[in-house]
Every structure is written in structure tokens, then in C-alpha cells.
């Protein structure tokens, strides 16, 4: 949206609408609604929002180890001596780290790829944090790598690429179990999920 599209609005307001309109999922009407909402906010709340945006852009960096987004490098997880240094979990996005941490069942280290191999969208191995991963894998104390990419076509392709290029014979490489989600149903499961769930059946 250009400033001409919202003639009658003050230039500073038009600029705010224009900037909000750039955000994913925000159309022109939503951008206008958000802009007018921000104008009606108390001063301290509006400035806090502006400060949060500025601060995140000034302070967030990639962790030199795991490539996760952090305020200080190395990040809290990488610099925590209580974490298991022998196991590394490879995930697609920073949000996946949060999801894994919520489970409280993994106490090792992470590596964030920041995407998956997606040739159709022009994303190849060089656009991901794979070079950094392969250099971390050279550490001799590392015993296991859990490739926790999403069980999608591109996630699986990325997992295969990592396995093919990791370059160590003595590293245990695993991926997360495939199967039925809690609350799911057999009737609506696809054949791949169901057959993998069957293969991974457990004694009860």
C-alpha cells in the first residue's frame, strides 16, 4: 500500500499503516485497524511496543554454537554446564527449540537450521546453518545426533541430506518416532503414519 492509497491520513499515520502492511498476514484493512489501535494506546504502552521492536533488532544475534536466536552468544542452553554435551538435537526453527524445551524430556544441546531444503523455493543446503552443524559434529565427545526436522517431505529430505553429509562413522544418528498423535484417530490416519506407528509398536 502506498501513502497515496490512504489520502486524507496524516503522513506519519500513513507511514505506520504502510509498515504494518508489510507484516505477514496483515492486509491493508488490518494494517489500518492496528495503526488506529496503536494511536489510541496510552503513551507508555505504545512506546513499550516501539522499544521492544528496536531492542529485538539491536540485541538479538545468532548463538555462535547452536545458531538459535539469543541476546548473548553463546545462548543460555549452550552455556549451561548441566546440559548433556554428548547429544545434539537438530531442529528447523527457533520455535521448535521452545516446543522441545516444553517437554522437559531432553537435556542435551540444540542446533537450529533456520529452514529446510526446499529446492522449489530456491532454498538449498547453502542457505541453511548446515556448515555450522557439520563443524560442530567434529567434536569427539559428541555421541548422538537427534535429527528432529518435521516429518514432512522437505523435513525428511533435509534429514537424509544431513545423514549423508555428516562425515562420521561412529556417531549415533536418530530421528523422532513417527506415529499417531495423542488425540488422533486410526480411521483418518494416512498409510505412512499408520505403517510407521505399527512398526514402532511397544509392549504394554
Amino acid at each position: 500500500m502506498t501513502q497515496e492509497n490512504i489520502s486524507g491520513a496524516a503522513p506519519s499515520l500513513a507511514r505506520l499503516v504502510q509498515e504494518l502492511n508489510r507484516l505477514p498476514g496483515i492486509g491493508p484493512k488490518s494494517a489500518q485497524r492496528l495503526a488506529y489501535y496503536i494511536i489510541r494506546l496510552p503513551d507508555d504502552e505504545a512506546y513499550a511496543l516501539a522499544d521492544a521492536v528496536t531492542s529485538v533488532k539491536q540485541n538479538i544475534v545468532f548463538c555462535e554454537e547452536c545458531q538459535n536466536l539469543t541476546d548473548a552468544s553463546p545462548c543460555q542452553v549452550c552455556s549451561d554446564p548441566r546440559r548433556d554435551q554428548t547429544i545434539i538435537c537438530v531442529v528447523e526453527e527457533p520455535l521448535d527449540v521452545l516446543a522441545m524445551e516444553r517437554t522437559r524430556s531432553f537435556r542435551g544441546l540444540y542446533h537450529v537450521l533456520h529452514g529446510v531444503i526446499s529446492p522449489i523455493n530456491g532454498i538449498g543446503p547453502d542457505q541453511l546453518k548446515l556448515k555450522e552443524l557439520f563443524s560442530r559434529l567434529a567434536r569427539p565427545d559428541l555421541v548422538e545426533m537427534v535429527v528432529a526436522t518435521n516429518p514432512t517431505l522437505e523435513g525428511e529430505a533435509t534429514a537424509m541430506y544431513i545423514r549423508r553429509h555428516q562425515g562420521r562413522d561412529d556417531l549415533k544418528i536418530t530421528h523422532l518416532a513417527r506415529g499417531l498423535p495423542v488425540g488422533g484417530s486410526l480411521e483418518y490416519s494416512d498409510e505412512t503414519t499408520l505403517s510407521r506407528a505399527f512398526l514402532g509398536r511397544q509392549e504394554i
Binding site: 498476514g25 531444503i117 529446492p119 522449489i120 523455493n121 530456491g122 538449498g124 543446503p125 514432512t152 517431505l153 522437505e154 525428511e156 529430505a157 534429514a159 537424509m160 541430506y161 545423514r163 549423508r164 553429509h165 530421528h175 498423535p181 495423542v182 488425540g183 488422533g184 484417530s185 483418518y188 490416519s189 494416512d190 498409510e191 505412512t192 503414519t193 505403517s195
Partner: protein, 259 residues
């Protein structure tokens, strides 16, 4: 009488992008409607009934409802999951190459059942032999045929003289083979060996199973690959992006891995 609000179709999923909080915008090539883009509501939730049925390179039976701007996927059931293909990285890369081309050639509301069947047949051939490039060459050649862009292989496209059994030249933009005497001004000319011409003629009259039995030496395989992918890319009007990843995998000598 008002047209029915819902319809059924068979489709191959070409790809998807996230939409909103938990939806997917799915691009598919259907047997009877051509390319369709439709919304899978809540399809990114792990407990959705659609999850697992909308993965790319999957043949699916769909129930859809006409929406105001886009159709809505109400049910999906996998017909052919190509699960063996999805266990092999090179095969996946080949499948993505096919999907990108079909996405580019397929038009919305323009049915092309022959192209649908060609994609199914080619995916099956790639699944059966992931290392062979012949399924891709067969696909590229017959894609041109089912799209009305079949290159001329028996007469010079310029002077119409019957081609002698010699080396000739090929031009994607003037429609096929040229004799050595003709030089159209704007033709993108490239050499065409007699052996390559014979393979193209064989591809024209063969079924996919027969074509995939062909074993070509490296130089002939490279000539055909370059000729056909350049021609497809020319008609597509853009570079085929997944080709570079496929070439990268082909150039590596690392052992194949399976998951």
C-alpha cells in the same frame, strides 16, 4: 438449478504454504480440473484429519467445497503415497523437479488428464529405480507432447525437407529439428547428434517402462538432459529451480541414504 457446492476429485499434491494460524494453502494438480489451489483448514494441527494426506508427491482422493475466493478441502484420502520414493533423497529431489514443472505448465481450470497420468507414471518409475534419469527424460519429452508443444523430429521445421540420418540442429523456440542449411534469424540453435535424435524418436513411440530400460552412455545422457531440460525451461519461461539441487546430488559420490 444452482451448481453443487461440493465436488470430488483425484489430485497429486504439488506443494503447500502455511496460511494463517494452522491452515495450509495447498497447490495440487487434479485429473479433471487442472491445477487447483485450495485451503486445508487446520491442516497443520497434528490431530487434523487432513494431516499426512496433503504431503507433496502424494496422489489423493479429495472432497472439496467451493469457497468465496478459494476452494476448501473437506476430506482427503491417500490413493498412492509413493512411500518408497520418499525414503530416498535423490528420488525426492526428482519428484520435486516434476512437481515444479507441473506447477508451471498446469493451468487453473484447464484439465489435462494426460499430464496427470504422465506424472503418476513418472513418479512410479522414479520410485522403482531412483538412480535412473530416464523417467525424467521420458517425462520432459511427453510433457511437451501432452501440452501441444511436441518438437518436430522427422522434417526440418523451416524448409520441411525430410531429415537425413545425420547430425542436425535443434531449436526449442522454432519447434524442433532443423537441417544444416536452414538458419532462422531468431532460432536458439544447438547441435543435435544423430544418436540423440534416435533416442528422441524412440521416446516418442515408447511407453515409459520400455524407455526406462534404455541405457545411455554419459555423453548421450548429458546431451539429452541438456536439450530436454532447456526446452522445458524455455516453454516454462523461467529456470527450473529444483534442477540445481538435483544436479548437486548427482555430482556427489557419497553413498545413498534411506530413512
Amino acid at each position: 438449478m444452482a451448481p453443487p457446492r461440493t465436488y470430488r476429485c483425484e489430485a497429486i499434491i504439488l506443494g503447500y504454504t502455511p496460511l494463517g494460524e494452522a491452515d495450509l494453502l495447498v497447490t495440487m494438480f487434479t485429473r479433471d480440473q487442472g491445477k487447483v489451489r485450495a485451503v486445508g483448514k487446520g491442516a497443520r494441527r497434528s490431530t487434523s484429519r487432513l494431516v499426512g494426506h496433503l504431503e507433496p508427491l502424494t496422489a489423493v482422493k479429495m472432497s472439496m467445497a467451493h469457497g468465496r475466493s478459494m476452494d476448501i478441502i473437506t476430506q482427503a484420502e491417500v490413493i498412492e503415497g509413493f512411500s518408497k520414493l520418499k525414503e530416498n533423497l535423490t528420488a525426492i529431489a526428482k519428484g520435486q523437479y516434476l512437481a515444479e514443472i507441473v506447477d508451471g505448465f498446469g493451468a487453473e481450470a484447464s484439465p489435462n488428464p494426460s499430464l496427470y497420468q504422465l506424472m503418476i507414471d513418472t513418479l512410479q518409475a522414479v520410485e522403482a529405480d531412483p538412480a535412473s534419469d530416464m523417467p525424467l527424460r521420458f517425462f520432459e519429452f511427453h510433457l511437451l507432447q501432452v501440452s501441444g508443444l511436441m518438437p518436430e523430429l522427422y522434417h526440418c521445421v523451416e524448409c520441411r525437407v525430410e531429415l537425413e540420418p545425420n547430425a542436425h540442429r535443434f531449436s526449442p523456440n522454432v519447434g524442433g529439428t532443423l537441417c544444416l542449411d536452414c538458419h532462422p534469424d531468431d532460432a536458439h540453435l544447438r547441435p543435435l547428434s544423430l544418436r540423440a535424435l534416435k533416442v528422441l524418436r524412440l521416446l516418442e513411440r515408447s511407453e515409459i517402462a520400455e524407455s526406462c530400460k534404455l541405457s545411455l552412455d554419459d555423453s548421450l545422457a548429458a546431451e539429452l538432459k541438456s536439450l530436454l531440460s532447456t526446452t522445458v525451461s524455455y516453454w516454462l519461461g523461467k529456470e527450473i529451480r529444483s534442477n540445481s539441487f538435483l544436479e548437486r546430488l548427482n555430482s556427489e559420490t557419497l553413498p545413498e541414504v534411506y530413512i
